[in-house]
């Protein structure tokens, strides 16, 4: 379905992603873990074609998307939605308009400049917001919402694209544990109910373990682990993060239960 071969990204002297190989044969939820600077974001940005690969290829269902240009590239981007750490919404526009931005690729530039969208799309946008539990916020400006709500608006925008793949770049890194859980559950639910592929960069191990079917570990631009959450032992995790024996999974956790667990140990 999706195959990434020897994908490399070089910034001057520095190699951000070093010949990465990933093959996915059916829609699943994949978590990419690793330290900051390990190349996780660069990888997702290449998949969405926000930045160009230095070498290697990305093939989706037999179509090489690595070198698409112009309209073909924008069409690929519309099929491969992206969610960002800082939400990347237009702060001064209302929530529904932000969600409707998901349809920009199939509408004419002129009609979108005047914010003219078909009624069906507007209704669908509100239905999606309802599915994510934030329909009441529909007429508010995006900047008036809390972080967790804004991230759900960003997910709604992604869903409005009706994409085959959803890429999420540290979707919960700016959120508190409660909102983080809601956002991750929404992503999981989207994967299970709609059968969309979800690839998420995560910086906490337990989130990856809990929500993902497959975990990929990156270190200094290389893929150093690729397997099921069960195969991800503490030893492997230490290797991914380049940490010593004092590394404890609970220390990086954002889960409320883990904190409880820790208290029990103490």
């Amino acid at each position: 379905m999706l195959s990434i071969d020897a994908l490399t990204k070089q910034f001057g002297e520095k190699i951000a992603v070093d010949s990465a190989n990933i093959h996915v044969d059916k829609p699943m939820m994949i978590g990419i873990i690793g330290r900051s600077g390990a190349g996780k974001s660069t990888m997702l940005r290449m998949l969405n074609r926000l930045s160009d690969a230095t070498s290697g290829s990305i093939v989706y269902e037999g179509e090489d998307v690595t070198h698409l240009r112009g309209a073909a590239k924008r069409n690929w981007q519309s099929r491969c939605a992206m969610i960002f750490q800082q939400f990347n919404l237009v702060p001064r526009m209302d929530v529904v308009s932000n969600v409707l931005h998901g349809t920009l690729n199939r509408r004419s530039t002129l009609s979108t400049m005047f914010n003219l969208y078909p009624q069906d799309d507007i209704h669908k946008a509100i239905d999606i917001l309802n599915r994510l539990g934030i329909a009441e916020q529909a007429p508010k400006r995006a900047e008036a919402l809390s972080g967790g709500q804004q991230q759900r608006v960003a997910i709604a925008r992604a869903l409005m694209q009706d994409p085959k793949i959803i890429l999420a770049d540290e979707p919960i890194a700016s959120l508190d544990p409660m909102n983080a859980q809601i956002v991750m559950q929404s992503l999981r639910q989207i994967h299970e109910e709609d059968g969309r592929m979800v690839i998420a960069n995560l910086h906490t191990l337990d989130t990856a373990r809990r929500y993902c079917d497959r975990v990929i570990g990156m270190r200094d631009g290389r893929i150093v682990f690729d397997g099921t959450p069960e195969q991800l032992t503490t030893g492997v995790a230490r290797d991914i993060y380049g940490a010593g024996a004092d590394f404890s999974e609970a220390a990086t956790s954002t889960e409320i239960e883990t904190l409880d667990r820790q208290k029990e140990f103490a």
Binding site: V96, L116, Q119, I122, H123, I126, N130, A135, E136
Partner: protein, 284 residues
Amino acid sequence: MTDMSTASIQSNYMEMVRRKRLYGGAALSLFALVMVSGFMLADSRNAGGFWQGIPNIFDFPRDVWKDTLPKLDQLPSHFATYFPSLIETINIAAVSTLLGSMLAILLSLFATRGLAKYPALIGPVRRIMDILRAFPEIVIALVLIFILGGGPVPAMIAIAFHTAGSLGKLFSEVNENADLKPIEGLSSVGATWTQRMWLGVIPQVAPNYFSYAILRFEINIRASAILGFVGAGGIGYELKNAMSWGQGKYDDAAAIFILLFATIVVFDQLSSYVRDRLISKGGH
């Protein structure tokens, strides 16, 4: 229950969209109306008429071109002749921009909501800036020339006043977008208003101030050239002579135009270089 409320949210939102579209359409037709009627009014008041005059639009450039072409070899000597008066013009512009922007910084800090030391004075300070902007430079200059006699000083004062008014407005808009968190941080350590402004606001807004000030400097070079026409000296005076005595002096005019253009290009390049340095220093 959710179905019901979703339906009502949808219909409420559609209602809002329809209202916005109505306003948008009305604004657009108003815009078109003002455009068309404004143009028609201007055209009817015009002595010659817009459509009859339009074929002659290139007459002046053609005359300049015709006069200059046979005397191209004299251009460098014209540059040399007019360079001192260009320096004078740039001098007037530079001094008035500096004075004007210093006054503008002060005025803008007093006129920004959330920053102003005396919130009650925001309105009066803004009106002062409006007054400074309202009078054309040339009017202030003419009055001052009448009082102080001809020369660069009246031009300088006139331009500085106008600069203070217009930059003050732009600066205060920049100030409004400044992040208030650093200022709160400085308040928390017991800083005075001046300290908060100088250490909390100015570092944030300096690059924007700078680019507006440079743009204003360009405008002021042109303004001080125009003031030369009414006796404030500088390159404007020379341009007036070259243009009004006609009869083959258009090559002088061409030389002056080229000098002015080159000046603007030089300062534009200079400003983008300095601005890049200023921003990248903050970034890394």
